[in-house]
């Protein structure tokens, strides 16, 4: 039932929501999250490092899709979802561009909101992607895994 895609192309949020809800009369709430590349200081220090102008995301073709399928199945087991879409871009994305889209629909708002938060927390921390920040000077720096992100995702283990 879920639509899952790992792709280089951008996505159209409005079209994805429309596709998920078309002809449905049982949906009461649709939660949605869009992650975008934001302007930020360089990897180490704003003054010393040139600003980041793009992100490059690498994935493990096959494993990444399977891992997303598994976490979506886990969300579907936790909450009574009536539809779910996960689209994650890979490759190089410039500041301001879309990275990831999560949509979760349910008959009630709480399930839709909780499933959306659960999925994006996992995608942003545990999903098999590797992130490189590209500076204006052409230097790329691989981002190290962050403890804070792990904590956000860990909250869900105790639910």
């Amino acid at each position: 039932m879920a639509r899952i895609s790992v792709q280089t192309e951008d996505f159209d949020t409005g079209a994805e929501i429309a596709a998920l809800t078309a002809g449905r009369t049982d949906i009461g709430g649709i939660g949605c999250f869009i992650g975008t590349v934001r302007d930020q200081p360089g990897p180490k220090d704003a003054a010393a490092s040139p600003p980041v102008v793009a992100l490059t995301l690498e994935h493990y073709p096959g494993m990444t899709e399977r891992a997303i399928e598994r976490i979506v199945a886990s969300a579907e087991a936790r909450w009574p979802l009536l539809g779910c879409t996960v689209i994650h871009r890979v490759g190089t994305m410039r500041v301001g561009e879309n990275i990831v889209l999560v949509i979760a629909a349910s008959s009630h708002r709480q399930a839709a909101l909780d499933a959306t938060a659960f999925l994006i927390d996992w995608l942003k921390t545990k999903a098999p992607f590797w992130k490189r920040e590209e500076s204006v000077d052409g230097q790329g720096t691989w981002v190290e895994a962050r403890e804070a992100d792990d904590e956000a995702a860990a909250r869900w283990h105790s639910v």
């Binding site: 493990y60 994650h88 871009r89 590797w130 992130k131 691989w142 895994a145």
Partner: protein
């Protein structure tokens, strides 16, 4: 003839090793992921850099996250990568 291992490298491990994929006949000394790491660390400077600090290396066997003591069999797809950063 047993099938060779397919070994994949991602992110900065790929850059250090200098390749994204290689095939390798399962060496007789290798029964686990940890054995394979020890074996690979001896293959040259790029490999040594990557596999010396094992705390920063993660592994998947046949597209499932695997511990150092996970067994390895002929034909397996073994991937090495840094801790995932998410999307």
């Amino acid at each position: 003839m047993s099938k060779p291992l397919t070994i994949l490298y991602f992110a900065w491990l790929r850059e250090r090793v200098g390749r994204s994929q290689e095939e390798l006949d399962l060496p007789p000394s290798v029964r686990t992921v940890a054995d394979l790491v020890t074996y690979l660390a001896d293959r040259g400077p790029g490999y040594a850099t990557v596999f010396q600090n094992r705390r920063t290396v993660r592994c998947a066997v046949n597209q499932e996250f695997a511990d150092p003591d996970a067994p390895i069999h002929p034909g397996d797809e073994i991937a090495f990568f840094p801790p995932v950063t998410g999307g």
